[in-house]
Symmetry: C2
Subunit: 285 residues, 2 copies
């Protein structure tokens, strides 16, 4: 899917100071934006969090595709030269719908995440990688990560973790209940696939849990290499643009479909800096 775009649209088509649209169902995609800012500093960024309709991860493919396409079209209307789908669920279930609806390049998080697992293996960190993907129910049901990993020659096991997003949103990122939930999810996955040695965080909320995930893996005596698709996705986006030596600082504009105040309050933790310019957006419904 992304392969097609990479091969048909080259970096020279896009301006050195582009407008990049970044879309997520909520706040988690801000971790991808955070990785993009130092990579393409001269860009103008428009971020849309579809917070009035989140979470996507518990809903059907048809509903997710409808929501994702309307969100993507808004960002294109705002002048995006490229769209980064920073939502794992939308990337897993609606990337083709979005690509068909938009004339601009579209980059999702699934394939960059899978390729990062390969790169880790090639770097010698993990011999013969067998990947465990933690993700939402909708993402795991789509089998998108398994297909992408299998296509790259890697074994893959997927585990739905419906409680992790609510736990992050409750702020329990360093909490004994979250540790116990992780122990349960990981133990169930290890019972099914004892040989997994690479952990792919298949939801943009999960990188906030990386420290507690590492501690839980140590307690379970099951060391793993942890891969976060945010950084890999940002690198993929950067391939579309020429190096930008202009030194112009990035400009960020944010849209949310629900409460601006909540978006500013929760979002700054994901972005790692305050969110100044947030606008309320009505996408209908």
């Amino acid at each position: 899917m992304n392969m097609k775009i990479v091969s048909t649209k080259t970096a020279k088509l896009l301006p050195p100071n582009p407008t990049i649209g970044v879309f997520d169902s909520g706040f988690g995609g801000l971790t991808v934006l955070r990785a993009l800012l130092p990579l393409i500093p001269g860009a103008r960024y428009i971020y849309l969090g579809d917070t009035a309709r989140l979470p996507y991860g518990s809903k059907s493919r048809e509903t997710i595709a409808r929501y994702a396409v309307s969100s993507a079209k808004f960002l294109e209307d705002q002048g995006a030269d490229l769209l980064c789908v920073a939502c794992n669920t939308a990337s897993a279930l609606a990337l083709e719908d979005i690509e068909q609806a938009l004339p601009i390049p579209v980059v999702g998080v699934i394939k960059p995440g899978a390729e990062a697992a390969v790169a880790t293996a090639e770097a010698g960190e993990t011999p013969r990688p067998s990947v465990l993907v933690l993700a939402t129910a909708a993402t795991t049901q789509s089998r998108a990560y398994a297909q992408a990993l299998n296509a790259l020659g890697l074994a893959a096991t997927e585990k739905a973790c419906p409680l992790l997003v609510p736990l992050v949103e409750e702020g329990w990122i360093d909490h004994h209940v979250t540790a116990e939930v992780l122990r349960i999810y990981l133990s169930e996955a290890f019972a099914e696939a004892p040989d997994v040695n690479t952990l792919l965080l298949g939801c943009t909320h999960y990188p906030l849990l990386q420290p507690i995930i590492e501690r839980t893996l140590a307690e379970l005596n099951h060391p793993m290499t942890i891969i976060d698709s945010a950084a890999a996705t940002a690198c993929r986006v950067a391939e579309y643009f020429p190096a930008n030596p202009s030194g112009i600082p990035p400009i960020c504009r944010f849209y949310a479909t629900d409460s601006i105040e909540k978006f500013q309050r929760l979002g700054s933790g994901f972005l790692g800096q305050p969110l100044d310019e947030v606008h309320l957006l009505d996408l209908g419904g």
Copy 2:
């Protein structure tokens, strides 16, 4: 709010075999429908679960009102003679919006729940009731239960419990993690209000947790009378209709805005019987 309607619209205005609309953001309102079926057996019921846009409980008042009004209007268009808002969050934040948008009587769950607390006290079960309300973040922020309880002369403390709905939807209704989360939420509430002796379940998902809540209260050595607004709300709805001796069995028709299959699968646990006729509904967005 309900008071106004009760005083201006009498039972004789409504037919003995009415059409009753029941609305919730998801499946939880089926517990209210379950309580209605034996009370008004001759009715035709139309239930709408706005599953494509759930949860309401983490969203803003404006978004909740917009979603609730569009859902309510659909049920009126389908011929509802009365609308039961079986969603605590929509009742707390959007009841007046719904009342203003519809020409039919509207019954929410807040006031019946508060009145049930008074009735419990008057029945001598709880001397000098001091009520603890467990609910979603949006419901507690609205202070709707506190205001309704205070208006009836009862002290009230509200506690937001954002993780309980995800835990119920994960199916962990008899699980040590759920018990630990309840211990944390209840202990925090007791630290703030040590004298509470009546527990009002202010979310239609919570009655499924009643056994584990009772065990947790016993472990915390803090006995409480538990009140569920579903039964009280059903009684309030029944006041609008003459007794129906016809013996005609109730007819139920269900609409969901997301996956029908998931609605049937999860909903039967709330309704206590299979959901045969479920239709997919697109409310836009």
